[in-house]
């Protein structure tokens, strides 16, 4: 079945494809059903539905000039383009576009590491460079820098950063967009622009100073359709000499508050890498008294149950990068602060490893903490080693031998970075789940925040993200889509917005950010109309629609 871009006739489309072929060669214009299979979202809630978000064709340029030419042709034929780099944005839409019938510009062939400076700690890459590619490049040359990798390492530095993706080492590196340092962009009219010091011809500091002078439009290219980024710089963490971990547990439910305060202090002094919060009470998930207390948010009862089982209520695992001596001194200091700030806190020494660690150390399944306390640390990402370990989540496992998660989907809300905010969000999310007739596998009362972004918490909407693992009929997926949109609406009414979303939910998430009658979206769309009058570049991305296609906002399965 041929899919056409909206408003483009079969004849015009055929002519556009022929023109694309003159630029990239006929072999790199893909339009058969077979060739376009891998451009679909493997986990789409609309899989195989007539309105599934699918590309009409893919064009695969080999260099910047070809990208410029493609954009100019698309303007002539009013053909919407969607750009992908490594195309692995799974759980957030994969390689699929926002508009059915878009031509996907597949940038994977542009896969060079253009420059890596081991002393100034940066890299400049093309779009197709994955975390695994860069890691291999670093290892082959025995360079002393780390790449802060996404959990599933087949993704690309550029694509992940432009999706506001995150990592796991020190704060300045694990917010991947913030860690970028300069970009080169093909604009909607095919013009070429550089940001920061890249705008100054001959500057030797493009990746050293990303601000340059004047307004920096770099943010427009993340979760937005203002250009196709074709080069991007990133800060790299210098390889430390030593890595050390330690576990802190606190006895009472409200101890979460001073624990978060203490961790924030250490985080913002750049003493620790990503802290991993958890609750030792997870092991009571089949205990009747615990479940009753957790589901009613009865704090006194939760403390009582924890004490009866000789368990602490919360834990946080800390990690330190530096030398053997500095990591020890920092861990000793962290212990001192925790014991001073939280009566009854316990601290357990974790691992102390010379860097670089060995593959055996990365994959070791044992941890040094006394039962029942356990480490949640995935050592590979803490050491900038890209792997696919996390792909067990949608896969067949011993717990689910006969199913896979066909609607693998990330759903995380931004929550204030305090213990009070987390305790409130747990109640809020639980109320929404109950109202919607859903129940998380683990009670919300012990859900813990993810500190992927240094200055913010994300809290998973655990009742909804993977709800259809065992029931993946076409109708159940449509029901889930409807449910998710309602959840997003209710979350927004309580002040929670998601940080990232697949195209099917991007309008719903953009709706959450509605201050002053959507002033932010109105401003972005004014810019969009000025910069991209034909509305051809990534229309709908981030909920920003060009004038020509604005009627498509929220139109799919309304």
């Amino acid at each position: 079945m041929t899919i056409l871009p909206p408003g483009v006739s079969a004849r015009q489309f055929s002519k556009a494809l022929a023109e694309f072929a003159t630029v990239v060669g006929a072999d790199w214009v893909l339009s058969s059903e077979e060739d376009l299979q891998p451009y679909r979202d493997h986990f789409s809630l609309l899989k195989d539905q007539p309105d599934e978000l699918q590309a009409s064709a893919a064009v695969c340029p080999a260099d910047v000039a070809q990208v410029q030419a493609i954009v100019r042709i698309a303007n002539r034929y009013k053909t919407p383009l969607f750009a992908i780099s490594t195309g692995k944005n799974f759980a957030y839409g994969g390689p699929a576009p926002n508009v059915r019938g878009s031509v996907t510009v597949d940038l994977k062939r542009m896969n060079r590491v253009l420059e890596l400076d081991e002393k100034r700690h940066f890299v400049l890459v093309e779009p197709g460079v994955s975390y695994m590619d860069l890691y291999r490049y670093i290892q082959e040359r025995n360079l002393k820098v780390w790449v802060d990798t996404a959990d599933v390492g087949w993704g690309g530095l550029m694509g992940n950063a432009l999706e506001h993706g995150v990592g796991y080492t020190l704060g300045p590196y694990r917010d991947h967009f913030s860690a970028h340092c300069g970009m080169e962009v093909v604009l909607p009219d095919g013009d070429l622009m550089r940001t920061g010091m890249g705008a100054l011809p001959g500057s030797g500091g493009w990746q050293d100073y990303k601000h340059g002078f004047g307004p920096d439009p770099a943010g427009l290219f993340a979760q937005g359709g203002f250009g196709i980024v074709v080069k991007m710089g990133f800060r790299l963490m210098p390889q430390p000499e030593h890595w050390r971990t330690g576990l802190v547990t606190v006895p009472k439910r409200r101890d979460l508050i001073p624990m978060v305060d203490t961790v924030n202090y250490l985080t913002d002094l750049f003493v620790i890498g990503e802290p991993l919060y958890g609750s030792p009470l997870r092991i009571l998930r089949n205990d009747k008294a615990f479940l009753q207390a957790a589901e009613s948010f009865d704090e006194a009862a939760l403390d009582r149950v924890a004490a009866e089982h000789s368990l602490h209520s919360w834990q946080v695992e800390l990690q330190f990068y530096g030398s053997e001596k500095t990591t020890l001194a920092n861990w000793e200091w962290a212990k001192e602060l925790m014991l001073r700030n939280i009566p009854g806190a316990q601290c357990f020494d974790g691992e102390s490893l010379r860097v670089p660690v060995t593959p055996e150390q990365i994959e070791r399944s044992t941890h040094p903490y006394p039962a029942p306390y356990a480490s949640q640390m995935r050592r590979n990402v803490m050491h900038g080693v890209p792997k696919l370990y996390a792909w067990w989540m949608p896969s067949r496992t011993d717990d689910f031998p006969d199913s896979w998660n066909q609607s693998h989907l990330g759903l995380f809300s931004v929550v204030g970075r305090s213990g009070e905010a987390v305790l409130q969000a747990q109640r809020d999310f639980d109320r929404v789940a109950r109202d919607m007739g859903s129940k998380p596998a683990m009670p919300y009362a012990i859900s813990t925040p993810l500190n992927w972004n240094q200055s913010a918490f994300l809290l998973g909407n655990g009742a909804f993200g993977s709800a259809t693992r065992n029931e993946a009929t076409p109708q159940s997926k449509l029901d889930q889509l409807k449910l998710l949109r309602e959840v997003l609406k209710r979350n927004a009414a309580m002040g929670y917005g998601d940080y990232r979303a697949p195209p099917l939910l991007q309008d719903a998430v953009a709706d959450q950010y509605s201050f002053n009658n959507h002033a932010l979206r109105r401003f972005n769309e004014r810019l969009k109309d000025a910069a991209d009058p034909n509305g051809i570049l990534l229309p709908g991305r981030g909920g920003i629609w060009p004038k020509a296609l604005r009627a498509l906002r929220g139109a799919i399965r309304k």
Binding site: F90, L388, R396
Partner: protein
Amino acid sequence: MKKSAVVMGLLLCSGSGAAIAVDIPAAVAAGKNVFEIRCAPCHAAGLGGDPGRDHLPGTDALRIKYKGTTVPALLERRTDLTEPVLKVYLRHGSWSMPPFRKTEVSDADIANLAAYFAATSLASERK
């Protein structure tokens, strides 16, 4: 000897069906490279041959899938991964494995992978 002929046969039958002169060691070496970059992160053997759940989800999924059968979890031990079979899996995906685009794994890469698997399955049979 018999297996070598099978390897050669696979390579000769690839593409249009016409006999094509293929340098088998080069194809196997190229296939090994594709395997290591594209497949091994999910489908390799774990350290010490242990395909732990958290480390190699592809190997682990196939271990569960083929439990109680003689089909090995490791791709490098499979004897049935011919070029057409690989093409179906790679271009369409299978369960949680998403499909791969031509910009990631070319048709030539798939032919080389088939040569590599034919060689590795032969080697593992000899052990």
